[in-house]
Symmetry: C2
Subunit: 280 residues, 2 copies
Amino acid sequence: MVYIYTFIEVDKNIKNDSLSDFMNEMTFIPHAFGYQCNNPGAVCSDRITGDFELICIVGGESRITIDSTLYICSAGDAVLIPPFTMHKIQTPASNPHENYWIHFDLNPFHMQKNFITAILGDTGNKLHPGLTKELLALYQLLENEYQCERSGRMHFVSSILVQIIIEVLRLKNSPSLTKNTIISMHPSEAEIVRKSLDFIQDNLLSPIVLANIANYLHISESYLFKSFSVIMQMPPNQFIQFVKMKKAEQLLKSTHHSIKEISEMLGFSSPYYFSNVYKK
Amino acid sequence: MVYIYTFIEVDKNIKNDSLSDFMNEMTFIPHAFGYQCNNPGAVCSDRITGDFELICIVGGESRITIDSTLYICSAGDAVLIPPFTMHKIQTPASNPHENYWIHFDLNPFHMQKNFITAILGDTGNKLHPGLTKELLALYQLLENEYQCERSGRMHFVSSILVQIIIEVLRLKNSPSLTKNTIISMHPSEAEIVRKSLDFIQDNLLSPIVLANIANYLHISESYLFKSFSVIMQMPPNQFIQFVKMKKAEQLLKSTHHSIKEISEMLGFSSPYYFSNVYKK
């Protein structure tokens, strides 16, 4: 068999870079998007959600309290609210804010902490990407894509969110930062975490303590604690709480059980854990 | 411990859809991008590459021959050239084409055939998405992003490519098509293919025949052939050829071996397999 052709090796004029590598590690699942304006004196009282929320202020004044810290924000500021973080959003009647907000999930879970550090560094929850024409163009594209409810919308919105995040990270000049935040994993530790996650998922309706998982994996509690904390950037008990709250959120939506019943089903230690739960 | 807050379950105003599900299955790795114009009488002779190439014609006339079929293309047409497909691109001196072209890889491999079917259906390699303002805006964004060589470029370009593909699939009105093209996999067949891929990867520098893999997996050749062909949408021998050519491409780039040496290293059955290889 003789082929008569030229085998071209394409000159790769698009090369890899560390920020692309970092972004490659993560998937963003957008849940909700909106543009808020003309709502003088609006208040979102103290609340938590299970999602990330990125708010980009384009006009007026926004007073956002996150974990007891008040951030006074104006055009060009942005805030990132991580999942299960208590926050309150207010705007003065005299100077109402205009903002774009987007709620999303980030997978895999172990990259959440890396992501937060890359975006926020150590400056609290507020950042100042500015109102660049690139960022505004992306928000306008997002608004348009959101409004025209065409097929592929979720994936398209996800790709715009990726672009917004890249722009924000560029404006923060953070490629060096992103490098530092990448956690290296040892294969055996990764395996421990993988099995722990399966165990937690399978036993979500029981009270789970560290000893249960350690016994199941035939390892010591201290080794489990260390491996888990290194990879997940969060101690196991905090993670279990997190997953149970995610599950509670889901059960509240999909069933008619009361808060008290769900609290009992998930083996929450204290009936006061949710003091007040609203179902939309 | 008593928390005083409102637990908000975010109203998910962005819902999933079948085109998003389809796109979620794939990752696009852009290799090269360009805008060609003012090149009257240009010819790319018969050639193959290891990449996908998507060409979007925005002006003039393009004469593109793919696997012996000539497509006469004008503004609003596009062509998709799958990997390792012989093609030739010409444009008349009197009416030179203007086009955007992008070379990319698509992972995972078993989705390549699905992708080709979704984009092309059964109309050959040419399609007519038209020159909509959305598509042109995306190509202009792509040109701008490509030229400003900022960090995160590769991932940003990849996200624009995703958006272009969603637009093309929308214009083809193909959400129903994409549903039909998704191949369902049986877990044991998927496992056979996974192990076959590992075996092929590990033995790339030897001649590999079906019997080698079947013996390694302790299954019959016919079962291997069937499972592989169903999932990969390509018989194993064709796939092995494909991977070897990819490897050859890589070796040509990264080493100083001659074509004949590489042909021998990879155990190609015929020294005529590559008749003519250019190294850029």
